[in-house]
Symmetry: C2
């Protein structure tokens, strides 16, 4: 099954990097694009008008969190995610599997689904592939994600190389994906399947081939950003892309730093999400055209300049590094809000620059520029 009213047109390519236009029932977006994370239906501390002004095109919300509070029935009664939150552009929802595995108490996975104890009320609940689709249909997102089997994050190398567990999760994820396809009742909602296989190229390719055969509206890379090297990750993404239809969106889930986004774009990824810019902002770590700044540092105490002279966000237009440092040090929530908004603006503008660079054939230059900032930040 494919969604009605959901389509992707190619716009330009530069090597494997590409720009596309994705049309959803709530408007079109151009890719590559970054999706700010609105866990409970709000990007922490930031309003929908500010997100639009910062250049956001599509938001991501977390199914598990909304299922727990206020519940999908309430969101549905208040007009779905669009009416509920006031963000009238496209929404993507994750399936909740990753959140349950990492947040809920005593999560247990069997063929039926994931059984867990609610972090909210301690009650035992089960999330199945069919249930995850039904919840997301009630939430009314434009793009839903299938439930996948997420392996716990490896604690050591011995766990990491347990290929049998990874294969088993991969096969179960495929069976769940097939059940998810059968469970769909809402023709206007796109559903993306999730490719697994860790950093193992062979497994990634196999997962991608079998997933492609299920004919979803788009595909995501799951289980990356868990400790693999950048070149390992790129190889894994490339192996999957070789087996996925190129006429559908590709989404790299949960990553990450600016260089991670550029690496993904270089391999042809279209969609990204991550809490990094907002979480780092709350802690006073901000991204600039000259690299990362730690705003809480004493050297900014009397700094009258903006975070980044090249940025037009409200923090940079209005306020000095010295004032923002003071707000962050004093625990004034305006500081976290302004720094988060600055970082989102940086990420969204970086994606815009990527789209423009791809269109003009200059993507490698941009990639090298961000690589240089990254090396400087890590002291390399």
């Amino acid at each position: 099954m494919r969604a009605e009213g959901f389509r992707m047109e190619p716009l330009a390519a530069d090597g494997l990097a590409r720009t596309t236009r994705i049309t959803t029932p709530h408007g079109a977006i151009e890719t590559p694009i970054f999706m700010p994370v609105a866990t409970f239906g709000a990007v922490r501390g930031i309003g929908v008008d500010e997100l639009a002004a910062a250049g956001a095109g599509i938001l991501l919300s977390n199914t598990y969190h909304l299922h727990e509070r206020p519940g999908e029935a309430v969101v549905d009664a208040l007009g779905g995610l669009h009416g509920f939150t006031g963000w009238q552009g496209p929404w993507l929802t994750d399936s909740g599997g990753f959140q349950i595995t990492s947040l809920a108490d005593r999560a247990k996975i069997d063929e039926q689904g994931v059984t867990f104890h609610s972090a909210l009320d301690g009650r035992r609940r089960q999330l199945t592939p069919e249930g995850a689709i039904a919840i997301q249909e009630a939430l009314g997102s434009d793009i839903a994600m299938v439930l996948d089997e997420c392996l716990p994050v490896a604690k050591d190398d011995a766990e990491r190389t347990d290929a049998r567990a990874m294969e088993s999760a991969l096969e179960r994820t495929l069976r769940w994906a097939a059940r998810s396809q059968n469970a769909r009742r809402k023709p206007e909602q796109a559903v993306f399947a999730i490719v697994q296989g860790g950093a193992d190229e062979r497994l990634r390719r196999r997962s991608a081939e079998a997933t492609a055969a299920l004919d979803f509206d788009g595909h995501a890379h799951g289980g990356l950003g868990l400790g693999e090297r950048r070149d390992e990750r790129r190889a894994a993404i490339r192996a999957a892309h070789d087996a996925l239809p190129s006429d559908r969106p590709r989404y790299l889930m949960g990553l990450g730093r600016p260089i991670d986004l550029l690496d993904g774009i270089a391999e042809g990824v279209d969609l990204f999400d991550c809490v990094v810019p907002t979480r780092n902002g709350r802690h006073g770590l901000v991204y600039t055209s000259e690299g990362i700044l730690h705003l809480r540092n004493a050297r900014f105490e009397r700094d009258s300049g903006p975070i980044d002279p090249e940025c037009a966000c409200p923090a940079c237009r209005r306020h000095s590094r010295g004032y923002l440092r003071h707000l962050l040090k004093s625990g004034e929530s305006l500081g976290a809000r302004l720094a988060s908004l600055h970082n989102l603006t940086y990420y969204l503008k970086l994606m815009k620059r990527a789209r423009e660079a791809i269109a003009t054939g200059d993507f490698a230059l941009l990639h090298a520029e961000i690589e240089g900032l990254e090396s400087r930040a890590s002291g390399a």
Copy 2:
């Protein structure tokens, strides 16, 4: 000494209620007016553009907090309160005395000043009347307040009626006021003195008479809102006003509920400040044209209407009670921010309505309307 470039013109009167225009070095405001509280140089979670859009004309900041963090030298180096915060309209600063008495550790008062242990680093510090003026001159506020002797809040009726302690504090406050006048070095900064005397009309009148003789730019009512009845407070204010020159601003410090503001206006008060609208907003208590709502209440779970259909603030224009309830219940800071901004909008609009009602001779009607909402809220 009187400040240069600081003046008040009467605009209209209705009984004792009055509207005036106060001109400061950073622009003019019309009174009666409410000053949002920006303790550390920011109204909690709310940006300066939002405050302007909500109708704010003048902000209040806390000298004690800014003295502790980041220190007045840093604020001065970054352009004073105006450059530091980005709020280019008028600022009023309190003197720090009340904050020290209520927040700092082991505050001791003698003739010289207030000695305390910093809540930040535990170090012993002293604030004198001269020091309070010097700090506020460095902060660069348009209106500074003298240091007064604040009596600790009474714990029982026996304490409340200790007229000797009150007289002694009153006399010391007068001596400190005279020292404050002598300490002024910045001709463009207005300084207001503080009338004491609790709810005792005789003491209030005496304090006001002696204060008036010191020729300050304006006068404030201190030590009210500490448990006295509304009629007691009005009588105390009236007794002071009888002895104060009517051509200078009158400021009721730290109060309070909408009805407290209207009561003050009825007696001819011009300026108000209080943390009530922002603090209540953070807790989900919001003011509407039909009375107070507790947004966290279960009955708002699926309520698709705005907080107040008559309000044009961002929360009411964009969001439902149901969504705001969800944000507040989930601890999403956007909820506290939007509810605070709504309440500030309510307070600022109420002051605008008061100015208009005074101009048309309808102030008693507005006073009765807010009295009615208050009675309903208290179940009377």
